[in-house]
Symmetry: C2
């Protein structure tokens, strides 16, 4: 099997249950992709990431092109071998991090010139170079380079930005088709932009579909517009996307965001939230967020979740997790990141099962009720 295909297995309302077939293995959707920024999902061994149920992880083109370098990773056999993760990998285009992390950016029609946040070295990222880098990394799902429209933006600004992204998307596709490093079954996703303006989102989606992509991402959300606005945009955008292609909401989000977005027809997600919060002692659980720094956990002998299949949630007391977090011990980050990635994967598995059985509405109701309790009660 060498092709990249999306197969829809079930639908419940707008929520879709499917599987993406790739040469490196299947991705069960709705899927959450843990973020492996610098070729590592922070504070977790790759075997652990896999054992939580992750079918795919995300790698950041911006970080990897700067260190160790795309050509360097290619010479070492590609990103999968480099980071000891033989399953599918999606890479972003690098554009988002260029805008959020690098210095001295200059944007032209050709691309963006920037300085590395690591050593100040100067780089040019174009649609063609982004695709070349992603092919050098050996990425299974590659993203077109786009401009991340700032928020807020006027209709005119969002339009100009979306049109640039459309032209770059066409250049990305052309580059992808002639890339010597591309492997059979590698996929390229377009990214719908247009800010909070449904008419621009519609133009963007139609333009991308004209070019033709293996999947369609929705970008430029969760940048400050609020959950209500984000869901409104999703509601008007996902119906415009092809039924037979996966839909990926980039950089989102909280557990509640994921549930709401799945109910609006989204198939794929990535977010640093489970690992970043894990490093700061904030745990995601079926009953809501738990701030382990809080003093009321200091003498609590209970595990975070005695019913969990995650050893980190089951085999250590809240008092111990509190102690590790307060003491800034690495094991604290390791355990809470593990708990969080495991929780996110369990949530996705729960949604998949609910859609399979036609019980997604009931799932959402139960999820909201359990989460609304907020932080877990003290003894």
């Amino acid at each position: 099997m060498t092709a990249f295909t999306y197969e829809k297995l079930a639908q419940d309302g707008a929520a879709r249950r499917g599987v993406i077939h790739t040469p490196r293995g299947d991705i069960q959707t709705p899927a959450f992709m843990p973020v492996g920024t610098a070729a590592t999902v922070k504070a977790l061994y790759p075997e652990q990431v896999r054992s939580t149920g992750a079918d795919i992880v995300l790698g950041n083109t911006y970080h990897l092109m700067l260190r160790p370098g795309a050509e360097e990773i290619a010479a070492l056999g590609g990103l999968h071998k480099f980071m000891n993760w033989p399953y599918p990998i999606l890479t972003d285009s690098g554009g988002f991090q260029v805008m959020s992390l690098s210095k001295l950016r200059k944007m032209t029609e050709e691309g963006v010139t920037f300085q590395s946040h690591i050593d100040g070295s100067r780089h040019l990222l174009t649609p063609e170079r982004s695709i070349e880098i992603q092919c050098l990394l050996g990425s299974d799902i590659q993203m077109v380079l786009d401009e991340c429209t700032p928020f807020p933006a006027t209709h005119e600004e969002a339009d100009r930005s979306m049109q640039l992204s459309l032209r770059w998307a066409a250049r990305s596709k052309a580059a992808f088709e002639v890339q010597p490093h591309r492997k059979e079954g590698n996929a390229l996703f377009g990214i719908v932009q247009g800010g909070v303006y449904p008419d621009l989102r519609a133009i963007s989606a139609a333009g991308l579909i004209d070019v033709g992509f293996d999947g369609y991402a929705i970008g430029g959300l969760a940048v400050g517009e609020g959950q209500g606005e984000m869901l409104r945009i999703l509601e008007s955008t996902t119906p415009l996307l092809p039924e037979d292609r996966p839909r990926y909401l980039m950089g989102v989000g909280t557990p509640d965001d994921l549930v709401e977005a799945v109910s609006r027809g989204v198939d794929m997600f990535d977010c640093v939230m489970p690992t970043r919060n894990g490093r700061h002692g904030l745990a995601f659980t079926a009953r809501g967020k738990v701030n382990l720094k809080n003093a009321r956990h200091a003498a609590d002998p209970r595990p975070l979740d005695a019913e969990s299949s995650c050893p980190a949630a089951r085999d250590y007391s809240r008092a111990y997790l509190h102690h590790l977090v307060k003491s800034e011990e690495m094991l604290g980050s390791m355990l809470v990141s593990w708990i969080n990635v495991h929780y996110y994967q369990s949530l996705m598995a729960g949604m998949r099962a609910a859609i399979d059985s036609g019980g997604f509405d009931a799932f959402v109701t139960a999820f909201k009720a359990a989460q609304s309790g907020g932080d877990i009660e003290p003894i």
Copy 2:
């Protein structure tokens, strides 16, 4: 089996092969104890520590009494339960860290008053309180409070200090015998002091044997006197210690130190070196130390040790380890600490097998030859 006993299984020259029986399990000797300062062997899961072959870990009384507190750990069921390590634990007395980490120390015959390095709170550590704390923690092997004789020290200074430690050792023993929290099979070790002066070491050893302990540690070494001086002191001291009790060289050391000390009759060791160096990208291997920060590893696809049974040494390239260390990724600390603790345990297992078979001299020769190559050669 509730008693604490040392059983000598074999001897080769002065090198001893034995087993310490404790209610929480056997400790194969010579043994290396990974250091779990704040109730965690840094950057490792307890299951990993166990799987490297560790029969026992060390906990630091100073750190644990300050955070989360001895009474707090006791209320949570003791240190073993707290840190999810059901096997034997040795705790030090706290004295060494009071001198090296705390502020505003005042030493009297009664004990030492100090300020916490964490929050500035004032504490008094006496021989009696140290034992009480160690019993509250539930430590299987407890250490007497002693004064760490500074180096260099004159004969007179070392004598005065050693005599104080002897008086404190007797008070520790008396406190241990009446401690309500003590469990059957808990052991108390004395600590031979006396600086670099063999006559003082002899007085210290005789005095401790008079009091009577379950094991005997050799303290105040590896503090700047150099390996030659340390081994000279070991040579004159270990013959003075009872044959039927374990001997523990505190805070030592490099792989070479361990081999040399075992060949002089030492049974137990602890050191932060494998984990601390692991966090700084310095790996211990059978062929010597490897500084993974070194640029010459950047393009090296080989694992650190393809023959190792440690996944971290076997399944990741040197280029990847280099990348993680340079990027200050937590996974770098996790993998290299794992490699190092695994190497230390393999070294101990190798020494045990060599003594069992009467081939310890050949083992030492082969060890020195392999290590003397220094850093692993580049491609």
